[in-house]
Symmetry: C2
Subunit: 493 residues, 2 copies
């Protein structure tokens, strides 16, 4: 049902009606209205509630039909039972898009499902695109649009976040905003009665403000289209990595929300294979999801698979190395030295900065993982500043493990301000950097595969060579044992 008008209304509405404001200032409807006004929306906003005449010193309209101008977007926050009739009015008013915040639809079982089918029918009749129901709304920080009831106002940035869970979105906002990390878009999908992640991804593929996309989904309906969209995003000259967190990877996890996504449910490996094919970076936990998004947003994509580990302590460096190696990243000797590069417990800021410079100009290093532990003589703030100075001119991915809490706090804030991705734990830092490396490699693989399987080799009309299928399978990134063609057992090399 989504069309250009609807997507424009979703990403840049000029006029919004909030259907369901109330005298109660902490109600969801009133909160959304306040969020729109207080966050600086430049267009017109119209409160709607048939039982109120005035709202915030403005006329409150009994119905969208009574609003004396064209409306781009209706945000609907009325009881579920009233949504169909409100939607009829939205249709008559020819509003192209409705965000249905209200819950009480398919997420509550059979009765709700019927109601959801009903609103889809109404929406179809009037060609209204629907976001939701049962969602948190949308936020576009660059355009100062906040049509949501999120408690945190995100700052402008380059991460687009699309979530089927509003609560997960709210938590993410509360975690990244204090770090100074911003969003380009926040879109809560809810039950996906109409608009789904694929529509949003299509739109974002040409969005200039977005550099990386985070996607939390529970149900996935069209694997083929997902692969197509993912590949398209990855093979763009200016790729936007997609980081995906899948809820309901196990059968029980899926049943937990009464969702029935079909044959893939309960087969984690099937999802992994799917996301690999779609060149989407799968995160296996909320923490990995958030950290990886931040790491992508603050770093370039690495040009190779080697990482240098720079540390003032052996133990944490071993743990980081274990994780990097397990994730397929190479930790090679560098400059004839051991890697991890241990500056030892008395390392000062100057030594970190000098080694960072050396690693920056060393061709065999494609990313840098820094570790700082609170040793007796560590100058916390100075060392954090050394990383920030390096980051300003660096062209290689950098992430830091800043091991501690209270003592390390000041430095952590400096790193946040310097836009350096940071975790307390060496393994988490290793995971986020590994994900950058993995994405780079998946992307190379896809480009390579597309160029290798040319029509002349795979689709020629003459019979194909016996070994050809194996080479095609291999070029798709599927492991194939090494093989040769031999005439008899003696000629096996």
């Amino acid at each position: 049902m989504t069309n250009t008008a609807a997507l424009n209304a979703l990403f840049g509405p000029q006029s919004i009606a909030v259907v369901g404001v109330s005298r109660d200032a902490v109600s969801v409807g009133s909160t959304i209205y306040a969020n729109i006004i207080e966050n600086g929306f430049k267009g017109s906003v119209f409160p709607v509630n048939p039982f109120i005449q005035e709202f915030h010193q403005k006329v409150c309209y009994p119905s969208v039909l009574a609003i004396p101008q064209t409306i781009d977007l209706a945000v609907v926050v009325v009881p579920a039972s009233v949504v169909p009739s409100v939607l009829e009015e939205i249709g008559k008013k020819e509003i192209p898009l409705a965000i249905i915040i209200s819950s009480g639809f398919s997420e509550i079982g059979a009765e709700g499902l019927n109601r959801e089918i009903h609103i889809r029918t109404v929406a179809k009749k009037y060609k209204i695109a629907l976001l939701g129901p049962n969602c948190l709304g949308v936020i576009h920080p660059h355009e100062k649009i906040n049509a949501s009831f999120a408690r945190t106002q995100p700052i402008p940035g380059s991460i687009a976040f699309i979530s089927q869970s509003g609560a997960l979105g709210a938590a993410l906002l509360d975690i990244i905003t204090p770090k100074g990390i911003g969003l380009s878009h926040f879109i809560s999908l809810g039950n996906k009665a109409d608009i789904n992640e694929l529509n949003i991804l299509e739109y974002l593929s040409s969005d200039q403000t977005t550099s990386v996309i985070g996607l939390y989904v529970e149900q996935l309906r069209d694997a083929k289209e997902l692969i197509a969209v993912g590949k398209k995003m990855a093979t763009n000259p200016n790729p936007k990595p997609i980081v995906i967190l899948k809820g309901g990877r196990t059968k029980e996890g899926t049943e937990a929300v009464h969702s029935h996504t079909g044959s893939l449910a309960g087969i984690p490996e099937a999802y992994s294979a799917l996301f690999d094919q779609a060149c989407m970076m799968q995160a296996y936990s909320t923490q990995e999801f958030i950290n990886t998004l931040v790491c992508f947003s603050q770093n370039p994509i690495p040009s190779g698979n080697s990482c240098a580990v720079l540390t003032n302590a052996g133990g944490p460096a071993i743990l980081a190395t274990d994780t990097l190696i397990s994730s397929g990243v190479i930790v090679p000797s560098i400059l004839g030295n051991h890697n991890p590069i241990d500056l030892l417990g008395d390392a000062q800021a100057k030594e970190y900065q000098e080694m960072l410079s050396k690693l920056e100009s060393e061709e065999s290093v494609h990313s840098i993982l820094g570790i700082v532990t609170p040793q007796a003589v560590t100058k916390i703030a100075d060392t954090a500043n050394a990383f920030c100075i390096h980051k300003k001119t660096s062209k290689k991915p950098l992430a830091v493990s800043w091991m501690g809490d209270q003592i390390m706090k000041e430095g952590k804030e400096i790193l946040d301000m310097g836009h350096i991705p940071v975790s307390k734990y060496p393994e988490q830092t290793a995971v986020m950097l590994s994900n950058l490396h993995k994405y780079a490699s998946m992307r190379n693989q896809i480009s390579k595969t597309q160029s290798e399987i040319t029509p002349s080799s795979s689709l020629s009309s003459s019979p194909i060579d016996t070994m050809d299928p194996l080479s095609i399978v291999k070029s798709l990134g599927i492991p194939v044992p090494s093989y040769v063609c031999v005439k008899d057992i003696q000629s096996i090399p």
Copy 2:
């Protein structure tokens, strides 16, 4: 070399000599001296440095030999090259234990290794037990003893922490102390020239202040003894779970510190099998390690394998369920309802508290995982208090996912004060609870195995039945395909 006198001196010295104090107040020697004095050590402390006459208004002795009383423990903080001669004096003074803080030994390569062999020889000659070299020292918060240069003073608690990496220990102290989580003992092993983790574990097995032990190690020399000690600790009537974090699970991770631990290096699966046999709970990251220790210290061991998930949001509950299921925990229907139990977005503290009570009295529930997300109407502090009230009388393990940062802060502090293990992320909370369940199951398995393999069935002198080995293998917890004994192919059921 460790004997009773040495272990007594390690865990409760009456008199300490600090060899290597200096006029520089921020030097490691002076920091250790200050840590001993300022943290309330009740015994006598003697500063030693031949170049200083007075230190902190006390006599500074030129050598331990000049101290006019018996000394239990010498803490040595002199340049590595001077350590052997200092050790000679310690031997002549008949001090049973020396903690060698100094670095510059086997961790720096061949030259250091020779020096380490040298000090072992001296120690052997005089029967001095050694902790270190290259370590951070020891802290016993209950006895107000801090013979370390850690920057954080831990509070008294029930977690014993033994670490081969001083830096990891320092980071752990800085992370748990602000949460109000305390330690019974903190022991930095360093290079383990003499005293190793097994000596410490033996001692802690009868320590009344310790309820759980955290062990970070890089090198493990005696797998058999490790298994024996682990099993002994687990089959105690009052078991003390051991949580182990192994640095250098991969070949590259091991090489990172020039350590050569032999055949196990680089085979993560071998370590996992070893720790399973030793009934030690393996953590796969620093974060999991710390969280699991905290979760054990604040909870009983669960009596079964079922977990109830209580939430105000679907998405995070699905993610927690996925993780629980993947870790082998059961998430069954409870009270005829779905589990996760979704109190929905408008859930208030009262509803959480009522459901917690119901789950407490429900026999099929063996642990509770709570999730709170920052929804529009969530009362953060009230909800945290509801968990604390429940915790006071609860007999079931409880851990909470408190999803957010800035908005959620107040509640997080309340949960910390209420001694409820908490993580921002649902998967992390699921992992720590799963580890409690896994430990309970490993422990049952070991008790069962020990009782099942009685001499009459496995060690009788008559020939054993063909199927017996399979049943023994099965009883050891190794998966065995289902089998029956048949006479011919037709009789296969």
